[in-house]
Symmetry: C2
Subunit: 203 residues, 2 copies
């Protein structure tokens, strides 16, 4: 459904350029990524960026949204596993792999992007925190279903378990950003899984 355009056509693919921007933000954080870094990586110049995305912050929000949809697709896929234990393990394993992909910066954009409120009043950090919380809520909902299904022991707090899983995931992201290798992250997952409760009658 290409809309019939009038003026000069855009000389770049907006999504491909966004992927380049993702990597720059990922590597340098929101504040550390300058417009010169971004536009040169995207292969466009400043006015094209402003026309296509608005401004730097909007570009970042678009980048995070695309990152959540593509680079973190494994998180949604993990929710489809049949048992809570399998959901959690698949998520943490895929996460450990994603944090150490050779063709991407180490770590996780939604954490490296910016934890502290920089020059702005922490708007970027809050946006990222909200984005992460969305994932935690989705996992919590899936685990609540597992409790109902008897897949997790009765009395298990789904929100607390989801928060624990995300905590391990975020800690692994911090480690990955510091250069820890994939095998070590999986060793951490090995240990972390020992804390995940399993129902007695579960397979």
């Amino acid at each position: 459904m290409t809309v019939k355009t009038k003026g000069r056509p855009r000389g770049f693919d907006a999504d491909e350029a966004l992927d380049r921007a993702i990597e720059v933000f990922w590597e340098h954080g929101y504040e550390g990524a300058s417009l010169t870094d971004l536009t040169s990586a995207m292969g466009i110049n400043r006015p094209s960026m402003y026309a296509a995305y608005g401004n730097k912050e909007e570009l970042f929000r678009r980048a995070v949204a695309r990152y959540a949809e593509h680079d973190m697709a494994y998180a949604r896929e993990a929710l489809a596993e049949p048992t809570a234990y399998q959901v959690i393990e698949r998520f943490l394993r895929a996460n450990a792999d994603a944090l150490t992909r050779a063709d991407r910066p180490a770590g996780c954009l939604s954490i490296q992007g910016g934890l502290a409120g920089g020059s702005d009043n922490g708007e970027v950090a809050q946006f990222l925190a909200a984005s992460r919380l969305g994932g935690e809520r989705a996992l919590s909902g899936r685990l609540a279903r597992a409790v109902e299904e008897g897949d997790l022991p009765a009395g298990t707090d789904p929100a607390a378990l989801a928060r624990y899983v995300m905590t391990v995931s975020e800690g692994n992201a911090v480690h990955a950003a510091a250069g820890v290798d994939r095998a070590s992250l999986h060793a951490t997952v090995d240990l972390a899984m020992r804390a995940v409760p399993r129902s007695p009658e579960a397979p």
Copy 2:
């Protein structure tokens, strides 16, 4: 042991000023903290800062060193607990409290300070990573002793367990920076402790 001075005496306490700088770096990160922010919080002006600390990066390193010595003293104290399980629990509990102190910014300086390599080539991020690794090594050494003493099951990998504990600690720091309250962090510690092995003959 006050050294006999010659010229005009310094009009501020270097350590107190450092404490103010710690909070600014903690809240805004290394890049987000401007010299104007820093010096006005420290109650001094720029030339005094440069005379006393060298430059912004040196000020940051001094701040992190003081932070590690004072604000993270609980980590060293935890190592003195008699058993590995108690070492780990005391560390994670004290950590959860420290991450949510009312009189300090939420979270942890050594993580909020900067995860991604900003304008510099990630020197600050690497410095912080090395600082965190120091803590992990200290814990690993303590846990290795616990294995020797039979306090942890034979075959336990002390480095892996130490890394797991630090991962939980860092994940909690990310959550704390996002505004998660103290009780929730302790609930995560409750779960995390389930993964810590205990020797059968341990008390």
